[in-house]
Amino acid sequence: MHLKKIAETPDAPTIPAQPTVRQATKGHRFDVELVAVTKRYSATTTAVDDISLRIPRGSYCCLLGPSGCGKSTTLRMLAGHESVSEGAILVQDVEITTLPPIQRGTSMMFQDYALFPHLTALENVAFSLKVRKVPKEERLKRAREYLELVQMDNLANRLPNQLSGGQQQRVALARSLITRPKVLLLDEPLSALDPFLRTRMRAELKRIQKELGITFVHVTHSQEEAMALSDMMVVMNDAKIMQAAPAREIFETPENAFVAKFIGGHNVLVSEGRAVSVRADRCRIGAQPGMRTAKGEITMIEYHGPFVQISLAGDSGDDLTAVMSDAEYFAQEPRIGDRAAISWEASSEHELVA
């Protein structure tokens, strides 16, 4: 994939240099670097507070966090639609902090797609070529190619309001990609779709990202979406980055209580005087000899098919969750209001940074 990308780069040397040397001199390691970036709206309101981040080349990166955490502002600063108060932004080793959007090598897909309502799908996709005065014949031909990439070539002459949400999104994607961005920025791209379409478009985004080999930066508040897509997951809260790592690392070793709670599936509690997280699927109902336990009252039982999720109000004041297999659950069949204990192996505990 990397080799293919280098070959596509117009300024790649034609003389076959030694591959390792070329890698070392020509290649960049990161598609995006944020260096101590801050966004201040006034003396008292800071939307993004001194964050630094490096996104490796060709990766699918999700910015994840609750609303107001600064993830969208970060994306908009990357896109050049929001000025940077302090710090620097680099795309493929080139500083772009103050460049206008089109010169940054980024392209943004907007939350409500922002397709131009008076232009057909094809004209929408061809728009960036039109403003660059590419001849009509050529720009329509190229726009058609990009509509093919997103499987929308059969509806090329529809207006946006004649397209469904999913179709509009495909057009918006094609319109962004035709600028040949080094980094594609997606602002909650799936939030306007119904759940079924959402999982389908999710797979589609991942497929296109793999096919093009460029970096996608995707803002979402859904941890499920972020886990399913990310090569790199960035959890944000309160204008700061809480943790940036591959999804598995974040799920298995969350940095702090916020991350453990936000990505879900974790119990955050105090064990032996330390703050720890324990995955809910590593917890079982019922005290077991040799295991750590916490007691409480069952407040909720959710049946999910292959597993059953049981929530307890712990005596220590923590909310506790255990996930049991359905077979295990129906063997015991605990009820709401029952007193119960959950237990886990000491080795399942993961110590959190306070």
């Binding site: 896109a79 639609h81 206008p100 959007p101 089109i102 392209s107 943004m108 907007f110 939350q111 409500d112 922002a114 397709l115 131009f116 309502p117 008076h118 057909t120 728009f127 960036s128 039109k130 403003v131 660059r132 002459n157 529809r158 207006l159 004649q162 319109r175 962004s176 600028t179």
Partner: protein, 280 residues
């Protein structure tokens, strides 16, 4: 569950009755005017009809009606000329101001409310004030200076209000998307903003034509030599009383309906052209 057709509440009939009364009040007199304009040569200002004819229309165009029949064709020409200038100016100024107001600037609220306040100020005093000022400065009043200015104090606030509503509903993401795709300020305006808000602009243009064409209070002291249509009609009303007046009413209504129909057809044509292109 069975769905039964429920009767309408009493309030529906009360409100529908009120609406019917309003419509009768609005259109019945106009209908009388239209019918009476076809009064026979010997007929008077009221029913019954003494025969049917186009006599009063002929009188109107020939200007041979004797006493009190002024210069209607010229007044009409003056009014249309004024309306053309005022509507173009209103549209251009409202559009520019609307674009400027998308960014807040110090004192923007004050300027906005001062412009809008012109709607509630009594027109006759505005007209008087403008004429007085011209007199004080030693300038001659003229249709193209004080006349257009006086009419703008009336049509522009409406144009501004419509423009603010139209641009308030404009999704700023369109513009950001255009910027993202490399469009410069001029291209954004020409290729994105203008086509999207075009129906609003046509609306301002048409409403400016009508508000200019029927404006009297501000215009009469400032238009200079020669009457406009509303002045002419007022003169006829106070002076002579022949069915010529009704002929003017019928023609003016026709003119206005044609204007509205024309703009509706124009919008329909634009929508059809857009749809046709999308089915290529």
């Amino acid at each position: 569950m069975m769905m039964t057709a429920r009767g309408r509440p009493l309030s529906f009939y009360v409100l529908a009755g009120l609406m019917a009364l309003l419509l009768i009040f609005l259109y019945a007199p106009m209908l009388c005017v239209y019918i009476l304009s076809f009064q026979g040569p010997d007929g008077g200002m009221s029913f019954p009809m003494v025969g049917w004819s186009f006599h009063w229309f002929e009188v109107l165009f020939e200007g041979t009606g004797g006493h009190g029949i002024g210069d209607v064709p010229n007044s009409f020409r003056r009014s249309v000329r004024l309306a053309a200038f005022v509507s173009v100016l209103s549209t251009v100024i409202a559009l520019s101001a609307g674009m400027a107001y998308r960014r807040k600037f110090p004192g923007s609220n004050f300027v906005f409310y001062s412009a809008i306040a012109a709607m509630v100020l009594p027109g006759i005093f505005i007209g008087f004030g403008i004429a007085l000022t011209f007199n004080l400065m030693g300038w001659t009043i003229n249709w193209w200076s004080s006349g257009i200015g006086a009419q703008l104090t009336w049509s522009l606030p409406f144009g501004l209000l419509i423009m603010f509503i139209v641009l308030g509903r404009f999704n700023p993401a369109y513009e950001e998307a255009a910027t993202d795709l490399g469009a410069n300020a001029r291209q954004r305006f020409q290729m994105i903003i203008l086509p999207i808000i075009l129906p609003g602009i046509v609306g301002i243009f048409v409403s400016s034509i009508t508000s200019s064409y029927e404006e009297n209070a501000r215009t009469q002291l400032n238009v200079g030599l020669g009457n406009t249509m509303p002045m002419e009609v007022t003169g006829l009303l106070t002076g002579s009383s022949t069915p010529v007046l009704f002929a003017i009413g019928t023609l003016t209504s026709l003119f206005m309906f044609a204007l509205i129909l024309g703009s509706v057809l124009l919008m329909g044509w634009m929508a059809r052209r857009r749809a046709a292109r999308s089915e290529l």
